[in-house]
Subunit: 366 residues, 3 copies
């Protein structure tokens, strides 16, 4: 359950909006004459927020949830505000054109104030090479290992048990949750957030058939490239990004990767592209900028996807995508016996087409 | 290879069944006059069990495997016993109505007696916060980290390198294998079994488009909820369960999750639902009770699946499922050139239907 | 970016080929009268290699990239050499019948000389049981845990934070990257390479319905088998291989597994089979020798795949495959609205076939 701030640590609404940067957007509080500025202890959904919490209405279709809402304050657009018959609501109203973005800023504020940060300094149980360079105000958690020549930028924090291999670089203001593994030769930009279990820089999957070997053995292609990650990238739990074969695997600025994603060697991902969980990108594929890839999609190797391509979840992308747009390829599911009947026909589709052509010819014998 | 107990540590059959709780079911040993109760050193399949091992026949179709079976004892139903022409078999017979369940109980017994438990006490290399609460008879392995305010319930054991974040709770009699990561604000019920590499409580994947940013940048939605796991839950290796955005992600009592499953934020899974490996559940989806989800299935976000729904492996579920039953959506595989011919037609299916309608109209011109 | 060797550490071309074993193949340098043997500091692609680097042409279609190539040397076949109009190229030419294999050997050489190995000896922070057996010239990294009765073969190196459970075996000359987890009773052959986050020996997913329990609870089938891995196996990051229920899960000699693969209990994989990332193999399936399984494929349980079977990426294999060959089952993707039209027809395929039959009958009323 979300933990609320203690009342004496919680800010008044105006202070919260100011500190969270909400006034940099077009936020304003609808004055409630004679009532004090409410203290905000946490965030809640419209249906569940209690009297010390702030909520938001981003989808006008949910405005009926305002009925009986117990929140201390609600963020909404002017349009929503005009639509609803508020009378004199029990909650304070915060007007702005982007309620979801204001909610994002407030949630970030609560997260900063609620979760204890890893303290600055190197924990006594961490093992840091003498040749590693640790910037100012860096926190290194218990049982971390920082190898020769690695660099940790100022303000970065590494959770327990992180591993930073030889000559790898962590930029400034990064946050690595416990048990992140960076092999040697991996470079993170600034403000990266990497979740537990992520592995960056494992060998790409490269093998050559070895004709000298009996019985089909493989010769390993050593992977000499690294991984290069831009600024403002977030990488989810247990996601893996392999090192390049010769050049680097490249993750652009602002890319957001969910959990259990697999990025193979030599892949390049353009700026601000976001991928949901369980996506796999095979080797040497290039993904454009501002793409979104739905969960559990698979993208074959050596492809190029243009900028602004949106792939629906569960799609197998097996050829280049040259134009922006939405692409889908998921097989419709059905009650099992119905599926069985239809799937049986899938295996006869080319026959079926042939039979249809035959009938058509008979209709038009000329 | 399975390790057998040393003969002097192995129990006689009657003692084994008693200690394993098999007599709480309807188990009985068919007496073999003049022969001593055999000593049971381990479990084996019908074809491979040796003279010190017990085996079981749960599928009557496999009864031909009894021919020449070298096991010391075989568990079977009365029906199987009557069907087979035993004469005077070399093995002892244990009759019961549920051979597979008796096998489960015996396997649990051998597992308890064969695998050394993590000893009670806190290993010298573990880092335990002064404000953490460690219950009676708890074992904390090497290089574990237990943060401020975390609670470990009585009788629980944590393998090497586990991480329990601030204010997280591990219930009683839990078993965490090495390198399990619980972020802050994660609560496990009693008797949980969590396998290595599992990550509970990483941030849900939430981003809002930030119109202030140039070029499509995303604003992070901080994830303020936690993860709430019921009693008797098992979670497989490298499975990830994200924390909720505002409320908790919820895993019900008795849920069994295999390896490499991804549970996104705000998902709720009903009691005793079981999921095979590599399943992905997208955000805010609710799964009912007693469901089974086949391996590598993908379930889209914001859906509701009823109780007692069974999804076949490899299915992409993209809409609500209101009724119990079995659902499937896997594309039939075939020899490659045959697939190629049929897949080409898939892309023309709506054309094909149009052509068919045209022919039908000509048949019935009225 | 790939790091080049310092000029004083870099070998001359002839020495490099000799040390890498390239002369054991049919390699020969085309003499360039009056010019010294170039020093080779690294490997590069034809387009990007600089003057201190060696490159290779394995696909004759790319021979136009030789134009303006700045590499010090290029590996190619005699056929390619004859085809191109070299005149007097700036680069030295290495002729051989298998340029890609020679590249593999050279990349291995650079990898050995560039990446610092884990030093021999047991790090002070590692926890090694008194009854564990550590071979000669073994390196055990920081925060490793080696349990009772485990054995580490000569020349093997374990990265930081590896866990080797009770009685498990690591063969000779193995390389475990940081944070590999081997449960108890897991055996690796010689020369294994295991990447970070891999988990071998977690419990197979086995549960029996427990009719004594209310509401659908499951009884756990304890998993008594182990994992047995042959020689020369490579296992990718965050891949999981479960222990067998009674017998071992078996990975044959020379098997290569990419990242995030899931191998369920009792699976057997034949020699030299290679699987790309994100593949899932369900329980008790047997895969033949020299198979290749494309990324994100799913193979159902209790199946048998013959030797030399090649499964295309993204395929769900749901029945036995008796004959060698290539098999595919991926649903074609398309622009979203086009997909929508075609997918709608998929759900009516059996109807469609019925309507076609009806028309055909009318054509041939006899």
């Amino acid at each position: 359950m979300p933990v609320l701030l203690a009342p004496d640590q919680a800010p008044a609404l105006h202070d919260l909006l100011a500190q969270a940067g909400a006034f940099d957007l077009d936020c304003r509080i609808v004055a409630r004459p004679g009532r004090p500025d409410p203290v905000i202890r946490g965030l809640g959904s419209l249906l569940k927020a209690g009297p010390g919490e702030i909520s938001f209405l981003s989808n006008p279709k949910l405005s009926h949830q305002l009925e009986g809402c117990a929140a201390a304050a609600v963020i909404m657009t002017s349009e929503s505000h005009e639509l609803i018959q508020c009378g004199d609501p029990s909650y304070c109203i915060v007007l702005c054109s982007q309620p979801y973005l204001v909610y994002a800023l407030l949630a970030q504020w609560f997260d900063r104030h609620r979760v204890a940060r890893i303290p600055a300094g190197v924990h006594a149980t961490a093992v840091v090479a003498a040749t590693a360079h640790i910037g100012d105000d860096v926190g290194i958690g218990p049982h971390c290992v920082i190898e020769d020549g690695a660099r940790i930028g100022p303000g970065s924090r590494l959770g327990a048990g992180c591993f930073v291999g030889a000559r790898s670089i962590v930029g400034a203001q990064c946050l690595l949750y416990p048990r992140v593994t960076l092999y040697h030769g991996v470079a993170l930009g600034d403000r990266a957030i990497i979740h537990s279990g992520a592995v960056l820089g494992a060998d790409g999957f490269g093998f050559a058939p070895d004709p000298r070997a009996r019985d089909g053995a493989w010769a390993k292609i050593a992977q000499l490239g690294g991984v290069s990650v831009g600024d403002d990238v977030e990488i989810g739990a247990n996601t893996t990004i392999d090192r390049g074969a010769i050049e680097d695997t490249v993750i652009g600025d602002g890319v957001k990767l969910d959990n259990q994603i697999m990025i193979a060697h030599n892949v390049k991902i353009g700026e601000h592209t976001a991928m949901a969980a369980c996506v796999g990108i095979a080797g040497s594929t290039t993904i454009g900028r501002r793409c979104t890839i739905g969960g559990a999609s698979m993208i074959s190797g050596h492809l190029v996807l243009a900028d602004d391509v949106h792939i629906s979840g569960g799609t197998a992308v097996t050829s280049n995508v040259d134009k922006p747009g939405r692409y889908t390829g998921v097989y419709p599911f059905a009650e099992h016996t119905q599926w069985q009947r239809n799937a049986a026909v899938v295996s006869q589709l080319s026959q079926l087409r042939r039979r249809l052509r035959l009938l058509e010819k008979k209709e038009r014998p000329d």
